[in-house]
Symmetry: D2
Subunit: 365 residues, 4 copies
Amino acid sequence: MIGNTFGYLFRVTTWGESHGKAVGCVVDGCPAGLELSEDDIQKELDRRKPGGKLASPRKEKDKVKILSGVFEGKTLGTPISMIVENVDVNSKPYEEIKYLFRPGHADFTYWAKFGIRDWRGGGRASARETVGRVMAGAIAKKILERFGVKVFGYTKEIAGISCDVSGMNADEIMRKAESNPVRCPDVEKAKLMEEAILNAKKEGDSVGGIAEIIVKNPPAGLGEPVFLKLDAYLAFAVMSVPAVKGVEIGAGFRVAKMRGSENNDPLVIRDGKIRFASNNAGGILGGISNGEDIVIRAAIKPTPSISKPQRTVNYKTMQEETIVIKGRHDPCIVPRAIPVLEAMVALVIVDCMIMQGLIPRSFYY
Amino acid sequence: MIGNTFGYLFRVTTWGESHGKAVGCVVDGCPAGLELSEDDIQKELDRRKPGGKLASPRKEKDKVKILSGVFEGKTLGTPISMIVENVDVNSKPYEEIKYLFRPGHADFTYWAKFGIRDWRGGGRASARETVGRVMAGAIAKKILERFGVKVFGYTKEIAGISCDVSGMNADEIMRKAESNPVRCPDVEKAKLMEEAILNAKKEGDSVGGIAEIIVKNPPAGLGEPVFLKLDAYLAFAVMSVPAVKGVEIGAGFRVAKMRGSENNDPLVIRDGKIRFASNNAGGILGGISNGEDIVIRAAIKPTPSISKPQRTVNYKTMQEETIVIKGRHDPCIVPRAIPVLEAMVALVIVDCMIMQGLIPRSFYY
Amino acid sequence: MIGNTFGYLFRVTTWGESHGKAVGCVVDGCPAGLELSEDDIQKELDRRKPGGKLASPRKEKDKVKILSGVFEGKTLGTPISMIVENVDVNSKPYEEIKYLFRPGHADFTYWAKFGIRDWRGGGRASARETVGRVMAGAIAKKILERFGVKVFGYTKEIAGISCDVSGMNADEIMRKAESNPVRCPDVEKAKLMEEAILNAKKEGDSVGGIAEIIVKNPPAGLGEPVFLKLDAYLAFAVMSVPAVKGVEIGAGFRVAKMRGSENNDPLVIRDGKIRFASNNAGGILGGISNGEDIVIRAAIKPTPSISKPQRTVNYKTMQEETIVIKGRHDPCIVPRAIPVLEAMVALVIVDCMIMQGLIPRSFYY
Amino acid sequence: MIGNTFGYLFRVTTWGESHGKAVGCVVDGCPAGLELSEDDIQKELDRRKPGGKLASPRKEKDKVKILSGVFEGKTLGTPISMIVENVDVNSKPYEEIKYLFRPGHADFTYWAKFGIRDWRGGGRASARETVGRVMAGAIAKKILERFGVKVFGYTKEIAGISCDVSGMNADEIMRKAESNPVRCPDVEKAKLMEEAILNAKKEGDSVGGIAEIIVKNPPAGLGEPVFLKLDAYLAFAVMSVPAVKGVEIGAGFRVAKMRGSENNDPLVIRDGKIRFASNNAGGILGGISNGEDIVIRAAIKPTPSISKPQRTVNYKTMQEETIVIKGRHDPCIVPRAIPVLEAMVALVIVDCMIMQGLIPRSFYY
């Protein structure tokens, strides 16, 4: 879990700078015998890709190549190396501001940590890094499919415009969310969100929001207390995604205002099984999944790259200066963050299912 | 980081059930040459101890014994084993409900995971487990002291009553927070919170709240992107604490409603050093500390143990039943959670400082 | 696997200095539902205990106490904390030589690493540390028993006197090895070894030897290439035992002189299953167990504590001096090392079986 | 350290099958500011490359490409991804025997573990996997260079012909070892070894041997007892290399026949520092380096791929059969194993130096 490796038994190592030769990842610990093709990966990469009027105009073709770990269409149980070349890279706008730390970015902190930074497009701190997460997550999702577990997400709120999906079932949420560029299943709200984003863009500014990720049909028993609790592991995974500043599970921050009698989910018998009558817990009690849907929300900050002038420091001269960022940037990162967040959640669920002995080392036996 | 071990280079392993013989922890990776006495540990344990009208009447004397790793008053660099015996244990009230899963508790999930559970006082899932965290955190705090770094917390909100500490400095917050049983530095609000807790208690109910933890004077450069980011690590640590359902850093969930121009903290030169004019980032950018105070908030749910009747399931009969919990319980866990949350944050900061090469293996050289 | 924690999914953390208050360990990741009593642990501790004319006269009663993780005679799946108090401790002889580094000991290196050391009986570097290993190993052995896997060892060589067990079956080797104080199944050779040890002792000297550990009836498929190969993991485990200077698997160092046609074990069908006609591989091919007995040998150096005068350095004066070690010491450590080596091997096998999905999280389902 | 990732703070993840598209590795945790070029890596890869009459005729051009982590000629502190394409691959000879398990190979065990295997050239179990180790090791060596630490190796024994380097200094050993195809610094013995290899080859057979690796000028204090001892870590690293069946440190298996008075290395004052008069310990005491040269030897088995007919099993028919292996194989793997073993040792030393606080996160400060 240190540095650029994520996971215990299902492990992902990602690498690559935004304007370097390529980005990629290595997935280790994947069970043998899983059918896997480049199309399975590409499908998820395409969901992450920029495009459209709401997103960065950078054209990332993002064609994945699988270099190892798959033989005759199936995984071998050996590490799966995947790579996406960086094309349409233009470092010019970054060169002009290479001694200025962009506010809200990791420019200063990378420099403070390593004494150097790759100023081209944010280097390793660029959201381009998430290509590796999405590729690995695609494999995790394929595994979960075999067990009837689904991970999906949608935009809950953008620029203060919030939507409510109670009353929709999972399929409806997914279908409607994917039907519009903001990934909001409430189509009316989606339009308002779109407007708010374009308004901010026009003013050279950006907006934030909230994404919700749901794990449908998870098994009970996942999570390894007292430290590697399922909610702790999910919080770790989600908070590691660029731009996330808050994470909550189930009722989340609303619990602060609730009474115990209101927040506690009663246990009931349903279809002969022990279930819960409500889901304030978001599917997790004592750090272990209880079999109900797992519900996670992430607060995503407004894109730090804005074209409005901002105060900052030039570290060459050690003088304060005004920075104007050109480049190509999403005025709102929430919609594109959703496939990334889904990927991280899927990785956690697969890892915990392996730990709990629910996924075998090989699908051949 | 798996199961009952926390940390990479500064590692804590905790153990013990609520009504077992003892609880304890082993701290490995502590630098040699740190002055350490049982008093240093006891001081923090005493802050966690129940007592007073707001807390559980269980009398936990909680006397720590250090069994290894310290020689002639200083740490050896070898593992430090600490133990607290369980006294004043009464399993009676639990025996009566041992086949009923308490709503809001880990009773069902432990049973689902392990096929068995220790029903006496919640077993390993009891908040008594946090004794081990606090003992380890006490050592982490002693280390941080040498570097001028302070970790402290206070109650931000209880039962919807919220306080504002802007205008107070760190010392004032700490002093005032410790002056009242709810640990709220706003003394007026503290009284209202106290009232709200007692009202809930009278009704056999409980209330939730929000705690804020601050790291004063942290070095820049902490955190190991892209996965073990400082905020991700803190979210993991904080979410692993019993009853926490949400974590946020800096502006946290408020970023969802902010614009980039508003949220981005401008960089400035202050006292000849690069600093930030505001701290919406909560001291962390791109997963690395930026030298400003680190600010974390945790949403804490109302204590699940309430005396009001609740619906649940008897797993012996597989029938729905009504449960009435007797036992001894805090009607609000927030104030006692604060030393635990401080401990977890201190552990993370020490671990990251070691990784960053800022804490030596021995204070002798 | 860092510092004082061993294992990935079945994890052991040990602690304690030789002349401190106690030594102990915490075992995390043990499946729930395993019958476990203090007697199970004590039995193995007693095999490790000194005693008899060949061993150190220190009387270690070594009574184990289980402090957590076991409820109504069965494991809970939570951490198992075990402790043995240090009694009959006499630090006097060590005080006299506390500024002299004992040759062949870790005195100098602990001091070089930590800038301090506990000079009382070797502190953490004492073989007393292995009490924790043996306690954890006892649990591992209990688990293996359920799967028909047995780990046992014997003395292969002492002071150049070597024994041959070909022709004996596992039960015979075990029974005969335990019948004499040198743990050699060849009873004639055992007497010669005993003599050699007593001769060395008389001269104030010590002797070394070779121990062989066998895993009977292991499943095929254990080990996680390309790094956590089963043989690599075993080499790690065995080399971490005090006094071990070499490890070999199967034919071991003899392969250097063999031809491929001689060393390769032919595959055959036996009882309808794929097996091997010989076992030069020692049960491991490509880092994965092949189903044949796993055979490991460890070279154990002569006890460094000898009463003969030796050259060394006084680090107070930084002058060369002559040291004469009094204390109480085994003139040959091989027989007592065997239960320790068995423990380490058992820990590895259990850990790898969990990784391979062969041991469930709970024996209740 | 699990699966295909090696190391704690300096971490290497390798990937790739013998006849897949490529092999590669990702190095994470490398300090920033290290000068690094593809030539630095290529130099070590070339030492591993086959060629000459003693080796496999497979022409591996093995041209490395660095894909990330290096910017303007220096490391960024971010992951370094390196790749080597597989060319001159001929799977034909393997296809003919794809249902036959080659004796002495991992064919059977991979199949037993994963239920499938890549039969083309041994897949992941091929020694081609070691390309990733050597690339990572080249970076480790570059780091060590900055601290005056050198890791080098030579052939100690092949086919029973053994050489003695006492009397040669490090530079001489290195220079002479690299001067002949068997990498033996005793030029006379080198010729005899060469002859023995060619004789074996003529008979369709193979021979084994012993390699010695030396760490010149290591700092004292490396290693993390009681489990991650330096010798345990080295044993792990070395035993994980294909074909290694035994590892020893310093006097190694010879200690079994030694007396304590003979084996203990006396401490002396040399040049005002505490040093050792002899080095039976091989530079390691109590699992921590003592400042003397670290000396490790590995027993390497004769190449299992021989053209002589061998008994084996066809797993399609579950019948015994005779196998004749064609393909292209080294009749002795020892010389080519040396750069691989050096790499593994260098990785361990760098990792331990980082843990001990001796290597900074960045060479810029």
